[in-house]
């Protein structure tokens, strides 16, 4: 399902990187503020799907050269892995490790939580599902 409109094509070239960047930002800030893996993944998948609309299926494949199935596998594996690791350490499932570390060039402490990896997994799954679903359905309809 490609829409051949020069306006969409050219504006998409501008919008795509910004949207992908914003998706990452929305995912990262989700630990304390509104946002998170699902929302980041949704924004990411929407950007990819719009790109597919403006530039065609081939261009989208060049942009994201993995099968959505692999993304879903990696995402679920990452999320499950981060939640199982605490079990091995004698903690309950899904327990998150939190802490701070200092980057060498700044004095501001950097807060981290291992739930971040879980969120990244969620994001990968959402991207995989979103892109895979749109791809499959549009292939069916074509």
């Amino acid at each position: 399902m490609t829409i051949s409109s020069p306006v969409l094509r050219n504006s998409m070239r501008l919008i795509l990187p910004i949207t992908l960047l914003y998706a990452m930002y929305a995912m990262l800030k989700g630990h304390h503020e509104p946002g998170g893996g699902f929302i980041g993944g949704m924004i990411f998948a929407t950007a990819i799907c719009t790109y597919r609309m403006s530039h065609g299926a081939l261009a989208q494949l060049r942009l994201m050269p993995v099968h959505p199935r692999v993304l879903i596998f990696l995402g679920l594996g990452l999320a499950l892995g981060t939640s199982v690791i605490p079990l091995l350490l004698g903690e309950p499932f899904l327990r998150s490790a939190v802490g701070e570390f200092h980057l060498p060039f700044s004095s501001h402490p950097f807060h981290y939580a291992s739930a971040m990896a879980f969120d990244l997994g969620v994001m990968l799954v959402v991207v995989g599902v979103g892109v895979g679903m749109i791809t499959q359905l549009s292939e069916e309809l074509e």
């Binding site: 199935r69 692999v70 879903i72 596998f73 679920l76 594996g77 499950l80 939640s83 199982v84 079990l87 004698g90 903690e91 309950p92 499932f93 899904l94 327990r95 998150s96």
Partner: protein, 537 residues
């Protein structure tokens, strides 16, 4: 390592295997081995933990996800009720999964079949383990989503048109569930089962009424759970659903889907929504009793009237669900224990019958009773397995169904004798319908209509997994019959904890949770004693 933390493995193992199954789309052999290992692991874990629980003081293991304390975080609870159901469901899943190796089409196997079976069990296990209403909804959805996909696997037109009924009905049910969960939260401020039970206990100890609309809310949730559990009058989706899909999957569905709905009623209603003599209980219990009578009796009449094996078995599921609802409608400790025992024995036996039906279909090429026959001479082993399973379902002593029905009917005799009579009558008609299959399929001489050519004769080797699956389940059914004593010990404990949730509340919310309630109870006991003292002089 703390034992409590391990209970989440019931969820993590099938999920992990399902995730790997997504990647192993083409590697059928590896996926099969992994799937069998996963179900073996969950079965072993469930049985091991059950044995451990027998010497445990309360018999309740609780794990708080992410170590967030109870009413805020997600609690996962393994008590006697969940434990028995988890053990039974894992074993049934193992049997049906092994059986499917000889019935599922190779094309379907390469389309995420293995992953979907694992994800179905992921949902079922989560439903049995979870300690709050919302995760119950989530697990229902996971289970249903996998079941939708498994149901439409062949992609035939009949399957498509039948699937809509099941899918749309369940979607509407899920929506009512979400709204119900939201209402529960709005009224009580919590969704945790233990916290909800504490809320009800507090109100009762203080002598205050429950919030207005609580009874209506429990009816809405009863509607949702009843729809999943196929109780009267919400059963109409069931027979067609089990008719169109692969027979091993139908066996799995017959074991799991309805039981999860009944489990949800058993978990929430005695503890919370219809706890001891509240207004809601006065409305819910007669509804359950009437529904139980109709479910049992009309279900078995439907089964008697049908004339092919799969339909008889599918409609029979409804009638058996009626016995469980019967146990729930009495809502005493012993009746709840009987209901639990009946649930697990029915899971095992009904799935086993479906697996036998799969083998019969392979032998005769059809499940029409008129066109099959002479199987006793051709395959005595199948006849033996079928006979044991069928008689367990009917409830002939010393097989498992007898002990389930005995406790429920006996317990109902004093308060709801008419239900017990319906139960006994249903048992007789069950015998009739099982004998119908037996005499047509096994005893009657070979029907003349079947032409046996070497091509359509079933290959013994390819049926070996099917026999293995059915044998496993019939062994479990025999164990439930001859080893009913230890199983019932666990079931009675579960019934006691459902009828009186104090131990459950303390186990989930921590030791101090009941202090307030105890204070109120003590004062009201003092008041009552004072009143009694005033009356005596």
């Amino acid at each position: 390592m703390k034992l409590e933390n391990l209970i989440i493995l019931f969820v993590a193992i099938p999920m992990g295997t399902g995730v790997i199954g997504v990647l192993l789309k083409q590697r059928v052999q590896i996926a099969r081995v992994l799937g069998v290992l996963s179900f073996l692991a969950t079965s072993a874990l469930a049985v091991g933990l059950l044995v451990h629980l027998r010497s445990h003081p309360t018999g309740i293991l609780v794990s708080q996800m992410g170590a967030w304390p109870a009413p805020f975080g997600i609690s996962v609870v393994f008590d006697s009720l969940s434990g028995l159901l988890l053990a039974a469901s894992s074993l049934v899943a193992l049997g049906c999964y092994v059986h499917s190796f000889s019935t599922v089409e190779p094309t379907a196997e390469k389309r995420y079949f293995h992953a979907l079976v694992q994800l179905l069990m992921f949902g079922v296990n989560l439903a049995f383990l979870t300690g709050d209403l919302f995760n119950l909804f989530v697990s229902f959805e996971i289970m249903l989503m996998a079941s939708y996909c498994l149901l439409t696997f062949g992609g035939t037109r009949l399957q498509m048109t039948q699937a809509y009924k099941y899918v749309l009905l369940n979607l509407i049910g899920s929506t009512v569930f979400v709204i119900g969960a939201g209402l529960v939260y709005g009224m009580t401020g919590t969704l945790n089962f233990a916290d909800l039970a504490l809320f009800v206990a507090e109100r009762q100890a203080q002598g205050r009424a429950l919030p207005p609309g609580f009874a209506a809310l429990s009816i809405a949730l009863l509607l949702v759970f009843g729809l999943k559990g196929a109780i009267f009058p919400l059963w109409f989706w069931l027979p067609d659903t089990y008719y169109t899909c692969n027979v091993s999957i139908a066996g799995l569905f017959a074991g799991m889907l309805t039981k999860v709905g009944i489990y949800a009623i058993a978990r929430t209603f005695p503890m919370i929504f219809a706890h001891g003599g509240s207004d809601a209980a006065k409305i819910v219990m007669p509804i359950l009793a009437i529904s139980a009578a109709f479910t049992m009796f009309l279900g078995v009449l439907g089964a008697v009237s049908h004339h092919n094996i799969r339909r008889i078995l599918a409609v029979h599921v409804i009638s058996q669900v009626g016995y469980m609802v019967f146990g729930l409608a009495l809502m005493t400790q012993i009746a709840l224990a009987g209901c639990l025992f009946y649930m697990i024995q029915h899971m095992v036996v009904k799935s086993c019958l479906f697996l036998c039906c799969g083998i019969i279909e392979r032998h005769t090429g059809t499940d029409d009773l008129d066109r099959s026959g002479g199987l006793l001479r051709r395959d005595w082993y199948l006849a033996l397995v079928f006979f044991i399973a069928a008689m367990s379902l009917v409830g002939l002593p010393p097989l498992s169904g007898f002990f389930g029905k005995l406790v429920i009917v006996r317990e109902g005799w004093d308060t709801r004798w008419w239900l017990s009579i319906f139960g006994l009558l249903t048992g007789a008609l069950t015998l009739l319908s099982m004998l119908k299959i037996w005499s047509y399929c096994f005893w009657s001489p070979q029907a003349a209509a079947i032409e046996r050519t070497p091509e359509n004769l079933p290959n013994r080797g390819s049926l070996r997994p099917a026999y293995a699956g059915a044998t496993l389940l019939v062994l479990v059914a025999l164990f439930l019959g001859f080893g009913a004593q230890p199983v019932y010990e666990i079931a009675f404990r579960a019934g006691r904890q459902l009828a009186d949730p104090d131990e459950y509340i303390v186990a989930v919310l921590g030791p101090g949770a009941l202090d307030e309630v105890a204070k109120y109870r003590a004062t009201s006991a003092q008041l009552a004693a004072g009143r009694a003292a005033e009356v005596t002089p």
